[in-house]
């Protein structure tokens, strides 16, 4: 712990701390442009100069490049240092266009701040400015090279941090240019972070252009709800519209960066056709009317039928408050559910995952970044949990060995080992790797269940062969992490992955376990929904008239495949359909009573991410129809009203609490705390959450009281050996894609352009068997009522026997919950006019 003096104040810091960071600990913010905690120091901009009065090298030094040393005496405000920094700013401003009035960065621009605070108020340089032409970088990021101060952050972030390779630094000297080889969309789904890290306005938020200054916005720290990682975000709204999102900083999750799905996915909250009114039988009505009608219908049902004919459907996009309230409402009323509306089987897989998640094994994204061996099984990070890719990339940069076992054509922006394996065989490969790595290890400490588990591994091991280098890397590793998905896996795989993590967790090796769950609140949904049912069974029950009333609260899969004839048929059997949502869907349109609910930006709420961290969001704004959509922006005279148009929405838990008879305050903020208190008090394992709702920047780690570290489950040996490779059938799976499949973001207009066309990924051998060529149009005949036009994409790096198509919410899928469909070659039809 070297102790040094900065501006006459002493501080002790850990070894290898840079002076710039040591100063920051003292609250002294040394100016910086090229330095960024996530990118490290390169000493390019020279604006962090300090004067070293005592130390191995005295004089002007760059504080980002200088290790804090014992006995150093450093001045940040010495005249030489101040003069030099002022000179650096003057140099940087020589060519800057001074276009702050029309620059979107204005007001939150590091260059602006440093220019003012550095004392460079007067332009002295008499020469002309160099100018550049800008490039088209796609619909999300705006390029304005003239503003560039050549700090190199963008290229370092893009190439080194994320591993994508289509942005570079061109030219030389004072003409260096940061761009692509030509116009075109930035390929990285993390390109939006350029906006955040650029210290000036070279990269700005394109959809948010000219929509306001930082001080015009209502801003709040938020949690991203577009996958299960729970990245920190900062959301800005103005005129009742969400304008933009930035990455928040959260060392345990996203570090400093988010994906473009998270950044631009908020558009659903602003949609002009967002349902903002109560409806009865499809007709707009007052809140009172709808409220009364709902009560009336529910009372009738309860009187005429058994309460168990009422079912309640929820999803992973519901807040924790809604899920808990729904659970207790169902219990109290004797209703069926709550049923988790998740893609087929993902509910049970998630529950299995949480069951295996011993608190000691829980890995955060930080653990993933710092890991030296990662085995990702049944997950496609870029598409399912994009920012996980960045965590893997950091591990890989530090030398970690990374393997992905998954049937899909998994692509990551760095070198890794991919074993394209069918879901049936993934478990065997995992077992084989773990078994081989454990060979020769003393396992005498294991419980009988542990030994039995090991025997099971040995059995499975015999069924698979895996590359040696993976085994060697695992043997050598000290911090391995097993990452496991919950979609492209068999039901027992999450359990197996958890047990394997237990198994490789040895005294000299601390293993981590990281599940990717479905949806923002998959954790909560798994905990608070009814275990013995699911969306598929629910639909069966409707068909068989066992369920007559359906209350769908912010549903996911079910709601959005209702364009399919199969689902429309099922709906007809219902006596009563009650839908609560902030999205319009085939289901909401068919509702007898529709109640508009608030988005998380309007209601706030708690979400539990995939590792059990609870994060609460405060409401950002009141909501209501965006001012530009009301038509009330014209010239005076204007009509002034006390109400906010389109702001009738309520948090989804409010009607539930009402039906349950909870008496809540009419005041919004008060009843928010009341429902939170109710939520925490009624679920003991949530007691770590503060009643105030303030979970802080990092969130609260919630640990479910499940099996302990050394308790092994007796594994149901469900491996399906019947897989017949001679069968001509091909399994059609729907899979997640970064853009276009996640329900909320796929409704965001900003992302329209980046959603790829629907292509059917297949193995070259299957394509050959079916006589299909890459790029060819074809129609998949799902059944007599459902056809799906798409386009062939031949992928060499995937398992044989599958077709993967993106799980678009608008697909006319005939089977509930997007369950895979076996296709016979006859069902794969080439388009007419094909000349091949």
């Amino acid at each position: 712990m070297p102790t040094l003096t900065i501006d006459s104040r002493q501080i002790s810091v850990p070894g290898n701390t840079k002076v710039i960071d040591a100063a920051e600990r003292l609250g002294i913010m040394i100016p910086r442009f090229c330095y960024h905690p996530a990118l490290g120091a390169v000493g390019a901009c020279r604006v962090c100069a300090v004067n070293v009065k005592e130390g191995p090298m005295t004089g002007i030094q760059m504080s980002c490049m200088l290790d804090a040393g014992d006995g150093m005496v450093i001045s940040t405000h010495d005249k030489d240092a101040v003069d030099f920094r002022m000179a650096v700013i003057e140099w940087l401003m020589m060519n800057h266009p001074h276009d702050c009035p029309v620059c979107d960065e204005g007001g939150h621009c590091l260059l602006q701040d440093m220019t003012v605070s550095g004392g460079h108020g007067m332009r002295r340089y008499p020469g002309p400015k160099r100018t550049h032409q800008d490039q088209y970088l796609g619909p999300l990021v705006q390029h304005e090279m003239n503003r560039c101060i050549q700090c190199y952050r963008c290229v370092r972030y893009y190439r080194e941090y994320t591993g994508y390779k289509d942005l570079g630094v061109l030219g030389i000297g004072s003409r260096v240019y940061f761009g692509r080889t030509g116009d075109g969309r930035l390929e990285s789904p993390f390109a939006g972070n350029l906006i955040d890290i650029c210290p000036t306005g070279v990269f700005t938020d394109k959809p948010a252009r000219f929509k306001g200054r930082k001080w015009d916005f209502e801003r709040a720290a938020t949690v991203c709800t577009h996958c299960s990682l729970g990245c920190s975000t900062i959301t800005s709204s103005r005129y009742r519209e969400i304008i933009r999102q930035e990455a928040g900083i959260s060392p345990d999750t996203n570090d400093c960066f988010i994906c473009d799905r998270g950044r631009y996915g908020f558009g659903y909250a602003n949609l002009p056709d967002r349902p903002r009114q109560y409806r009865v039988n499809g007709n707009p009505c007052s809140r009172q009317t709808a409220w009364a009608k709902a009560l009336d219908l529910l009372d009738t049902t309860a009187n005429t039928n058994n309460p168990s004919t009422v079912a309640l459907l929820v999803s992973a996009r519901c807040t924790l408050e809604t899920l808990v309230t729904a659970k207790h409402l169902c219990h109290r009323k004797g209703w069926h559910g709550p049923v988790w509306d998740a893609p087929s089987g993902n509910d049970i897989k998630s529950r299995n995952a949480l069951d295996a998640l011993a608190p000691e094994l829980v890995a955060t994204m930080k653990d993933v970044r710092e890991s030296d061996f990662i085995l990702a099984i049944g997950t496609d990070p870029v598409n399912e949990a994009p920012v996980l890719t960045l965590a893997l990339r950091q591990a890989q940069r530090n030398g970690a060995h990374i393997t992905v076992i998954d049937p899909r054509p998994v692509s990551l922006p760095f070198d890794f080992e991919h074993l394209p394996t069918s879901p049936e065989e993934m478990g065997d490969q995992l077992a084989a790797i773990v078994c081989a790595a454990l060979g020769g290890t003393d396992l005498s400490h294991l419980s009988p269940a542990g030994k039995a588990f090991y025997d099971d591994l040995v059995l499975r091991n015999a069924a698979a062969t895996v590359p040696d280098e993976i085994v060697v890397a695992l043997k050598k590793s000290r911090h391995p992490v097993i990452v496991c998905g919950t979609h492209m896996v068999n039901e027992d795989l999450p359990v197996l992955a958890g047990e394997c993590a237990r198994m490789i967790n040895q005294p000299e090796r601390s293993a981590g376990l990281f599940y990717v769950l479905p949806g923002a609140n998959g954790f909560g949904a798994a905990m608070f929904t009814e275990t013995h049912t699911n969306a598929g069974l629910l639909l069966d029950k409707i068909k068989s008239n066992d369920i007559k009333t359906l209350i769908a609260i912010e549903p996911e899969g079910c709601a959005h495949v209702h364009s399919s004839p199969a689902m429309a048929g099922i709906l007809k059997s219902l006596d009563c359909l009650l839908v609560m949502d902030y999205l319009e869907s085939p289901l909401s349109r068919a509702a007898d009573v529709f109640i508009p609910t608030a988005t998380v930006f309007e209601s706030g709420g708690i979400f539990i991410n995939q590792n059990g961290t609870g994060r609460s969001m405060q409401p950002l704004y009141m909501g209501g129809t965006p001012i530009f959509q009301t038509g009330r922006t014209g010239p005076p005279p204007r009509l002034f009203e006390s109400d906010i148009p389109g702001a009738e929405h309520v948090p989804a838990w409010l009607p539930l609490a009402d039906w349950m008879g909870l008496s809540l305050s009419p005041d919004n903020s008060k009843r928010r705390l009341e429902i939170l208190k109710y939520t925490i008090e009624n679920e003991p394992w949530l007691s770590a959450l503060p009643i105030s709702g303030d979970t802080g920047e990092t969130g609260i780690k919630l640990r479910i009281p499940n099996r302990r570290l050394n308790e092994f489950a007796s594994l149901p040996h469900t491996r399906n050996n019947a897989g017949n490779s001679n069968s001509p059938e091909i399994s059609l799976y729907t899979v997640e894609q970064t853009f276009g499949t996640e329900l909320l973001s796929s409704g965001s207009p900003a992302l329209d352009e980046v959603i790829p066309q629907i292509r059917a990924a297949m193995h070259p051998a299957d394509a050959e068997f079916l006589n299909l060529a890459d790029g060819e149009n074809l129609t998949l005949v799902l059944d007599e009522n459902h056809e799906l036009p798409c386009n062939v994409k031949i992928e060499t790096d995937m398992a044989q026997g599958f077709i993967f198509i993106p799980r678009r919410p608008d697909l006319p899928w005939p089977v509930p919950g997007f369950a895979p469909i076996p296709l016979h070659p006859d069902q794969i039809r080439r388009e007419k006019g094909d000349l091949r």
Partner: protein, 425 residues
């Protein structure tokens, strides 16, 4: 040519052609290699070089022997020897002449360096303007390989060393050792900041020794004749060896001359370069390339070695002497030098990338008679601030500016007073 001094590096130099391998051998070439491979350990080779006080001839004057020692004995393989033939310092052309004179001397020097650090591969990094020299080297390397002097199991010693020629795309910054490593790796040639030093982690992250052509050419002679002999070649106590001076500008016989270290500037100009051209008198010279400061007539008799110049606040640099006469405006000459540096700055760090064009612009205004008095302190202060840039490029670039404002401030101020250049056209 009236050169009374021993010709070592130029012993086989001919006015019209390249020395052949046979001629090189005849003059004692490859004896040092044969001797080292059979009679000396790498450590002994290092010791001899260290003892010879051979200072790097590329401009930085770092002791070549000390550099060799920094490659740890147990350092990983492959290890590289890089020959820096990216001679781009304005005024400097000695390496081109050396390669054209006696290419095998360089090849032997590289092999000996390789042997001294147990390196596996040598690479000549050469500027694209020297395509002729590159072709010569490629051809002569093949000849050396044929004779078993290079390649697998050299002279049956068990030592294996290969040499490749790598052409640069052409930029001054590529001559900077760490930038050159990036260039060799097919990356943008921005300098790298040590640590780690190239001798620990250089090319492809492997231990790498970089030497200038002239430095490497000294190796065979030192090893053949001994460190003592090499040191005694110099005329001064502090110097060692000979130096190839490339002299240009307003002299009668511009060219390369091999002279003892410590020879007087006046002798170089008057005796070897044939004196000033008709009608010219000596006004100043840059003693070692564009990144050194002006020497005024007060220094006319100075002993040209690294130490003497350093003590007087100057640098011998590459020993490229550019002579200016009384008819040349040094303000304009400095603008020209700044144009060079501003154009060649790699663009990595702010002071160099923006500061050089800034100073150039101010000095251009002064030269054109549009300057103002306040520009002079600005240029002085900014030049000093450019010392705080990322690599040695900018400090070198401001050397002429700083010395201009020390020795010729009056001349610069004249421009401002008169509103024009007295010497200009």
């Amino acid at each position: 040519m009236s050169n009374k001094y021993p010709q070592i590096l130029f012993q086989n130099r001919k006015p019209d052609r390249i020395a052949t391998m046979a001629e090189y051998k005849e003059s004692g070439g490859y004896q040092a290699l044969a001797d080292a491979l059979s009679n000396r350990s790498p450590a002994q080779v290092q010791e001899e070089i260290l003892d010879a006080v051979l200072l790097g001839r590329g401009g930085a004057a770092f002791p070549a022997g000390r550099k060799l020692e920094t490659v740890a004995e147990d350092a990983p393989h492959p290890r590289y020897v890089v020959c820096n033939a990216d001679e781009m310092e304005p005024g400097t052309f000695k390496d081109r002449v050396l390669i054209h004179a006696d290419p095998h001397m360089l090849i032997e020097g590289m092999i000996l360096t390789g042997y001294a650090v147990n390196a596996d591969k040598g690479i000549v990094f050469i500027r694209p303007e020297y395509e002729g020299a590159a072709k010569i080297l490629e051809r002569e390397i093949r000849f050396a390989e044929k004779e078993g002097l290079l390649g697998e199991n050299i002279l049956g010693s068990g030592y294996t060393f290969f040499i490749d020629v790598h052409r640069s795309g052409g930029r001054y910054i590529c001559g900077e050792v760490t930038a050159q490593l990036n260039a060799l790796e097919g990356r943008r040639p921005n300098p790298r900041k040590p640590p780690p030093y190239p001798t620990q982690k250089g090319l492809w992250g492997q231990p790498t020794i970089s030497h200038n052509v002239e430095t490497l050419c000294c190796f065979p002679h030192i090893l053949r004749n001994g460190a003592r002999w090499f040191r005694d070649l110099a005329l001064t106590e502090t110097g060692a060896g000979t130096k190839i001076f490339s002299i240009s500008g307003k002299v009668n016989r511009p060219g390369c001359y091999e002279l003892p270290m410590g020879v007087r500037l006046s002798e170089i100009i008057e005796v070897h370069a044939g004196g000033m051209v008709e009608g010219s008198t000596f006004k100043a010279c840059l003693p070692g390339g564009a990144s050194t400061g002006f020497l005024t007539p007060d220094f006319y008799d100075i002993e040209m070695d690294f130490d003497t110049l350093r003590k007087k606040g100057h640098r011998l640099g590459t020993g490229a002497i550019m002579v200016f006469d009384q008819k040349t405006c040094l303000t304009a000459a400095t603008v020209n030098l700044l144009e060079f540096f501003a154009r060649e700055s790699c663009g990595w760090c702010t002071p160099c990338r923006e500061g050089l064009p800034y100073i150039k612009h101010l000095l251009t205004l002064i030269e054109n008679g549009q300057g103002s008095e306040d520009m002079i302190p600005t240029i002085k202060k900014m030049s000093a601030q450019l010392w705080n840039s990322y690599c040695a490029f900018a400090p070198g670039a401001v050397a002429p500016v700083e010395s201009l404002l020390v020795y010729f401030e009056g001349e610069v101020r004249e421009h401002i007073k008169l509103g024009r250049c007295l010497l200009g056209d």
